[in-house]
Symmetry: D2
Subunit: 276 residues, 4 copies
């Protein structure tokens, strides 16, 4: 299966890039499954129902969230009628929505998409993600009940993301970190066969501070005094993510490559899908 | 000037890689200035005098530190006789050592090397790094008193590192983030001419959790129960860093490239130095 | 029922005070139930089996823990043969020991003792305490299955402790906060009948920084440089806690008073037990 | 000199209590100096110019702030024309206002009032408070240039407040902690003669969660889902603070007593001022 995971889409800039380019990426690379982190899609903070549908219409098979899940209050309600919207599985039981979704991929195969929040340096107290990850994966095992399993592990600390990677290694197709809004260059296939990247990076305007206009961020951190609102930067986005090709017999990763298209970052696309 | 900045060297594995490969990298690429972050060089935690000299002997012109500066107690004293060892400049005044050093590069030019600690999610309370960075840069301006200025900004949050980058943009040659032990793929030249990367990555064994053997890290985070010590992983290291070529007339960056050599990460070397 | 809850016993100084005075307090005041927080009893960090038995021998009917539960490794094993030792109930499932214990009080009545860790500003990530508190209290309700219920809510933030108080109000006899090692003066009976105090205070030498010798604490915080170990202060302890008299028909609080005996703090004992 | 320090005044409830009772407390107890923490006076978040004048009119000789200093944007400007309004001294240099003020007490004596923010568990990164405290106290020493010195040390951790107390011991009249909105019962005179309390407590409605209506606080912490705004509770306030009588020859403390008047907390007033 060909999987494309796209990191935190930030604001209008990020949404525009997805709408403009995702359909042709899917067609050109014959992608089977697209997972998009949408926690910052609505102006940098949260997601709306309209934007959720925009992402799905552009080709996302599932949309994941993170610590900004509920920034837009409507998400608390529309998530119930948005079966492909996945919020962190380790919220306090009773939270709206779901922490995982078994979706049908474009090729008809079954993909389990899981979202989890890490805890180190994160402000929102959540429950242990690892036990719940284990439950989810055990309840819908790779090959038996899912042809691919994608885990979006959303947190600050690289150590915790690596632990998530090794914890799931051999049992899921991909563990992709999100939240720092900065792509890492440590993509690889872990010893057990799971593709891994510490952070997929954001899909937004990089001439900014993590997608937010840099002027207020600079003032805030260098003077300690708030002087305005945080607004999403509006320059051209770099679409950032990770491409994984799995072995259909095992559901594990055969190849992994970063994706960085458009905007100011150095560009890269998966050579193994474009090589002829 | 040709500058090579190498991220957090972790344990014996990292030191071995530096000793084995740095001399020929310097020779092959005709590097003028090497800055190495050494805060984890001694078994993962701190630095010793012997290791400092080992790094200098291998070709480092300056060694920077971070939140682990004083993990080995001897650093509190030997730093006074280690003129090329630079600890964070925003420690409480009176701390041993120095927060910046003007060193002579291999080509005889003057390079100012500065180390600063960020504050978001960092456990050690330190003073405002930005005002002090401004003071240092103003006291020894690029071109006038320094032919290159390298800032090692050591912290957790990508946002704070980006703020450091933009804050210094146009006034220093390079702002290289450290501390997360994970290389980022957002290297670029900022609008004002300063080379930037959110994290240079660690120089250590990546088959680990940020350079530490993964078994205990996994147990600790997935059970909540400490059951052993953290030890540096001992597989082959990937040397991770960033290469910058500056314009001698301005001291600003002309070219920037990540460096990742050895170990399990995808390899990359600066094409602009190897192209003939 | 007459309940005495004693806050974090710190080091030898705290243990000595308990051994020397608790038996006569129990006798003089005809106390039915004594709960002691012992997370710092072993030299300031954790608890040993010997000290656990010492506290029980002095009259404790249950010993609670906190973020320092496992500082002494032996606690991970001896807790299984220490039925009156209660660790936080919101550890990751599988942790040794128990998060609550139904103990027989000195008058033969049944008392449920629960320990929970809060999450704000606490370094150890733990699961949501409130849902688990609700489960425990529902499974062993006041009056029906327990004649008294005592909750030791261990955390940093006063806000979270107050939330715990109101959350349990009317369903437990006492919510006593611990962890800050500083007695608060906001003891009261909440509207639903539950006795409450934000922090019971430590039982240790107050001529110190939260029970630790003040010299190293001062150096560490004012210079930022570690220069020695943290050791428990060894002056005379103040026994700090809270006394509650419950209504036998309801299990709820009729009277509440702080207890502060010995050492340098202003002294106070429950007038309602000494009035004759 | 007779000094009354009043902890965080929260919202209309707190302001009403000050307006209604402070004038007669000053008269009855012949108080010479009143310092009031006003960081939450405006609806729980920050301070306005009108409220500042209300507190001064009621008898405050100085008003201190904390982490909520700039919650009301107008504070950034009106502080410049509010000579008795004191914000934390360890903000990044260039912040509006002042970190200390030498005010004339009601008896004509000179009192230095200092405000400082601690750093442990505080979200706003600020500079080292201890070095700056030392500078302030050295520049205006007790007896020589000030007849009394009052330090409002505003932070979360009891350990850091105790360090502030011992750090200033013998050089100031009073170190009063603020911020937790919970009065502590560890008031005392430190060995060097400085009066100390870990937290003076809030002046607000205690039938709440730290002065905020408890319903939303409970929902937020027990479900993890924001569902409304935080609003100041509006029941009758308890005026909480600490009373100190200093020796005019030394400026140090002779007597210290908590003050808790009105509302639901156990009441206490300084016996040494009411003993006739
Ligand atoms: Fe995000
Ligand atoms: Fe996030
Ligand atoms: Fe490091
Ligand atoms: Fe570090
Ligand atoms: Fe404790
Ligand atoms: Fe504790
Ligand atoms: Fe406050
Ligand atoms: Fe505050």
């Amino acid at each position: 299966m060909r999987i494309l995971f796209i990191g935190d889409v930030v604001g209008q800039s990020g949404c525009n890039a997805i709408t403009a380019h995702l359909p042709e990426m899917i067609a050109d690379w014959r992608i089977d499954l697209v997972v998009v982190n949408g926690e910052n899609a609505a102006g940098g903070f949260g997601i709306t129902e309209a934007i959720y549908h925009e992402l799905i219409a552009a080709g996302a098979d599932a949309v994941t969230l993170g610590n900004h899940s509920w920034d837009k209050k409507e998400a608390l309600t529309f998530i119930e009628r948005a079966p492909r919207l996945v919020r962190p599985l380790n919220y306090i039981p009773g939270a709206p929505g779901r922490g995982s979704a078994l979706v049908e991929a474009k090729n008809g195969q079954r993909a389990l998409v899981i979202n989890a929040l890490g805890r180190l340096f994160m402000m929102d107290p959540v429950n242990d993600p690892f036990g719940l990850l284990d439950e989810e994966i055990s309840a819908c095992p790779l090959r038996k009940d899912a042809d691919a399993i994608v885990v979006d592990f959303h947190c600050e600390a690289s150590s915790e993301k690596l632990v998530a990677g090794y914890f799931c290694d051999g049992r899921v197709s991909l563990v992709a970190g999100t939240h720092t809004h900065t792509p890492t260059a440590d993509h690889r296939i872990l010893p057990g066969g799971t593709a891994y990247i510490t952070d997929a990076g954001m899909t937004g305007d990089y001439e900014s501070v993590i997608g937010i206009k840099k002027e207020e961020m600079l003032r805030r951190l260098t003077t300690g005094i708030p002087s305005g609102r945080f607004e999403a930067a509006d320059g051209t986005a770099t679409i950032c993510g990770i491409a994984v090709e799995t072995d259909d017999r095992t559901g594990l990763a055969l190849r992994v490559s970063p994706v960085r298209m458009g905007g100011i970052l150095e560009q890269i696309i998966p050579q193994f899908w474009t090589g002829t």
